[in-house]
Each structure stands twice: as C-alpha cells, then as structure tokens.
C-alpha cells in the first residue's frame, strides 16, 4: 500500500524520533526526519513529501527561511506545511510571524490524537472517510 510521506524538520531530535514512532504506528504514513533547515530543504526537494511538519525556531536556517525557499521553488511550492510551535495563540502567531499566515499551527505539547487529526486534515490528497 502506498503510504503518504511526511517530513519533520525540527532541531529537537528526541521529539522527531517520538513523533515518527507515533505517526508510523498508524500504519498509514512514512516519516522522514531532518534536524536542521539545510538538510530539511534538501529532503523536501528529494522526496517531495505530502506534508511537512516544520519547527519555526531553529538555529541557523529557521522555519521562515525554509518556507521562503519552498515558495521560491516551482517544483515544491505547493507542499502542504504544518508549523510546530511554542507560540501561545493563533492570533498572536499570525501577527508575530506573517510567514505562517494561511498555514496550520500545531503546539508541540499536543496529544498524539490531536497530532494525527491535524496531519489527516492537512496532508495532500488524503481521502477523508
């Protein structure tokens, strides 16, 4: 069965490992990990994921830089993105980080159930039951 591909770009490696375990537990998704922006953008171009889970604050190339590069590249500009954030409320996020406007935001302290629900809602071409 073809599994939808998800890429996580987050500098917290342990978080990435556990999120990968929890998502792959469903049997529906294949998860790739990048722990910095440079590796992340390279993987986006290589595997062309159906969904990108993107941390905003990272050392070096951060979430805003990655988004800009994706938008500038015709081959990957339509990649669906969900931002992983420590920001409190959505309205604050949109006023503080305009590059997140139009995309979903996910707090890092979400439960597994909320994470899976968000993924299914935003992933490219997911057939809703």
């Amino acid at each position: 069965m073809y599994k939808k591909r998800i890429l996580i770009i987050d500098d917290e490696e342990n978080f990435c490992k556990l999120v990968k375990k929890n998502i792959e537990q469903t049997g529906e998704f294949e998860v790739h990990i990048a722990t910095n922006g440079d590796d992340g953008i390279r993987l986006v171009r290589e595997i062309k994921p159906d969904l990108l889970l993107l941390d905003i604050v990272m050392p070096g190339m951060d979430g805003a830089d990655v988004v800009q590069l994706i938008r500038d590249d015709e081959s990957i500009k339509d990649t669906p993105i969900v931002f992983l954030t420590a920001i409190v409320r959505e309205e604050e996020a949109s006023s503080q980080a305009s590059f997140t406007r139009g995309y979903a935001l996910l707090a890092k302290t979400v439960t597994v159930g909320e994470l899976i629900a968000c993924i299914k809602k935003n992933i490219r071409g997911y057939a809703q039951p």
Binding site: E12, F15, N22, Q25, V57, R89, T109, V110, T111
Partner: protein
Amino acid sequence: MVILIFALIGLLLGYEIVIVHKRKKRSLSRKLPQQEALPQKPPQQDPIPPQNPSYLEDKLWYEGELNFLFKFNEKLSLSLSFQDVIQCITEAAHDFLPIDRAVLLMWDENSEKFTFACAVGWEHNRSQESLVIDKDSISGVVVRNREALVVSDLAQDWYLSRLKKEEYLRKAFISVPLIFKDEVLGVLHVCDKKSPGPFAQRDVSVVMNIARMGAISLQNVRLYEQTSKRAAELKIAYDELKEMQDKLIQSEKLKAIGQLASGVAHEMRNPLGVIMQGVGYLEQIISPEAKEPRETLSIIKESTLRVDRIVTSLLDFSRATRLELHPEYIGSILESSLNLVKTELKDIEVVREIQEDMPKVLVDKNKLTQVFINLFINAIHAMPEAGRLTIRSFEKLPEETKNSIDERPDAYFEAGEKAVVVEIEDTGMGISEENLKRIFDPFFTTKGQGKGTGLGLSISRNIIIMHKGLIEVKSQVKKGTRVIITLRISKE
C-alpha cells in the same frame, strides 16, 4: 564827581552780591537729590502751613515716627505674599496718621489703568475687577508727575476737581506714588484728616516713607512669587520626567521579562513536547489491561499539560501586550465567550440580563474573550454541584471618577462620562474577606492543586487596566461572588 564814582562802584558791588547770593541759592537747591526733596508744590494747590511746634514736641513726634517705621519695616519683611504687603501698606498709612481712610491702587503701565488693591476705612460695593480708574484722574496726575500731591480742599482746586471722580477722594488728601527704580507700581491715598486744618509736612513725609518702603517690598514680593511659581513649575516638570523615566525603566524591565519568558517558554515546550509524544507512544503499545502502567502514564500526561498551562499563563502575564482596539458590542463578546465554555456548564443555570441597544465599547476582542472565559471558569469551579451563573451588562454613569487600581491620570473616567458595566455573578462558595484582599496577586489561588495556575485574575486585571477600565470583586462566603468590570464607551 568822586562821590558819584564811589556811589556807582557801591551800586555795582551790591548788585554782584545779590547775583552771587541768587546763584548760591540755585546751586543749593540743585544739589538736593530728587528723592530727598520735599514734595514739590503742585500748581494751584494750597501751601503747606508753617510749622511751629516746640522742640520737645518735635523730638517726641520724630521718635514716634522712627519707631513706627521700624515696626512697619519689620512687618513688611514678614509679609511673603503680594496681598499681605498691600494690606500692610494701607493699614500702616491708616493707623499712623489721624485720617478717615487709606486707599491703595495698583498701576498697569500697559493698559494705563489702575485697579483697586486695598482700602482701610472705606467700604466699597464694587468688586475689585470692576473698580478701574484710568489715567485721566487724580491718581493719573500723581503717576504722570511722579510726585506727591497734597490737597486741603478738592472743591477749591479748579483743575483737580474737574478730573474723573474718585469716590474716596473727597476733601483733603495726600496722594503718593509708589515708585521702584523709575517704575510706578501704584498710588497710595490717605484721605480726610480727623482733626481740623490741613495736612502737616511731617504727615506727608511719613506717607512718602511708607510708599517708598512699600514699593521696595512690593517689588521683592513680586520677584519672590515669580520665583516660587517657577520653582513649582520646575517641580511639576521634574516629577513628570521622573514618572516617565520610571515608566520607561518599568517598560524596559517588562520587555526584558517578556523576552526572557518567551525564551523560557520555548525552551520548556520542546522537552514537554518530547514527554507528551513519549507518553502517547507508550499509551499505544501498553496493553489496555495493564492498569497501573496506564494510570502512571495518565498522571505523567496530566502533569505535563499542567506545566504547559503554567508556561502559557506566565507568558500571558509577562508579555507587554499590545491591544488591537476596535468598537465592539459587549453582548456578542459575552455570548461567544460563554459558547467556548459551554461544555463545562453541566448543571449550572445561566441567566442573561443584557441591556438592549447598548453603545459599542473600544476593546481588544480576543483579550476580552480571554478575561470572560477566565471569569466564567472561576464561577463554574465555585459551583461544583450546581448553581446559577448570571451575566449582566448595562450602561451606567460611574459613581466614582477615580480608578480604584491605578493612579494614572488618564485612567480616570471624566465626570458625566457614561460607561458599560459587565457583571459576572455566581451562587458558589464565595471568597473570605481575607482572601479577597489577595485575589489579584499572581499565583494566589483558592482552588486545589492542579486546578489553576493562580494567574487568571492577575492576567484579567492587567488586560482591563490596559483597556483603562475598572475591575472589582465582591463576595460573601457561601453566598457567591460578583465580578464587576467597567469599560469605556467607543466614541466611534
């Protein structure tokens, strides 16, 4: 012939003596400085009668005058206000001389008008502002000539009696200018001797001394008042600057705290996220029958979420919030906030008493929603079994114009300014008087452990203060609690 020549010489010599004597006389009078000269005889006025007191009488009189002037000077030096000085001058002139009344007028060079300053022995029915005398008066003559005027009978003076009338100048009077360094400050009139006969020369001398000393004192007091006013203005400016500086420092501190809090929040949320994902994973792989491990995981999850809420509250509390103000109907914000907590309501009855056609309020809708949600949750938690939650909103004229929380001048409601009041009332357990004093303190909570961060009311209070509104809590144990919020009406 010889006799004729001697006679001629004698005549010539005599003439020369007369000329020299006249020259000497003229030069003597010129040597006397202006201020020490006796009052000039004004045109068409009565001459000062010749004095013929005994030596002892003179001595006693001058001793009395000296004593009086010393005391007058002492009193003047103790007078620190303009009003005190003019009172002192007028009273001195009235008390020392045997006269009916003394009147002091102040002169304004720019408008060329006098204003009434003080009178003793004269009842005037007009207010000070309306009694204005111009330069075409006897007082005007005194100012123009800058010399004393001594009159025994005004009716007999053809010129003065035709000038503009001044009520207090009836028959006999002495009018003296108050001059300081060539500037005329005013005119002092002493009027109507009690004893028969004209004013004596020494009377004029006393009045002139009073005027001279009074003028110096007036000028000094004027300078003193100007300096005091300036000092007061400087103090106000200094206090304002200090307040602004304190606010700036506070603002910088809050900004630094906000930045620190954001950094801490971010750093804390990363490991919290790891814990949540770890717990989630274990929940999936542990058998449903393994009750104890599952219960342990549940505790870990709950505690993690609690830490997350504390981090959120800390961020809210420390953040220098910028409000996005828009005119809104308070009723709709209340409804939408209530909607967000409806799953918590359970057996609680909700009563709405919202006035129709209320004006809009200028608020940040999201922040106010946060406040109302917090207050609704507090009310719900206070009624664990059941109860009634009443939500009221109405227009009102605030009874007090003072802000009960903050002393900022711009926090006051203006007199007659209407406001919108929101009341959220419950029939819950209530708050004791002791706890009520601490209700807005950060981290103070009456709920059990894990039920609240203790920051909800502090944050709500901060938000209301930022809206320049008022928040107050009234409560009775076992009866319930009422939170009253007063907000400004939008002018749009």
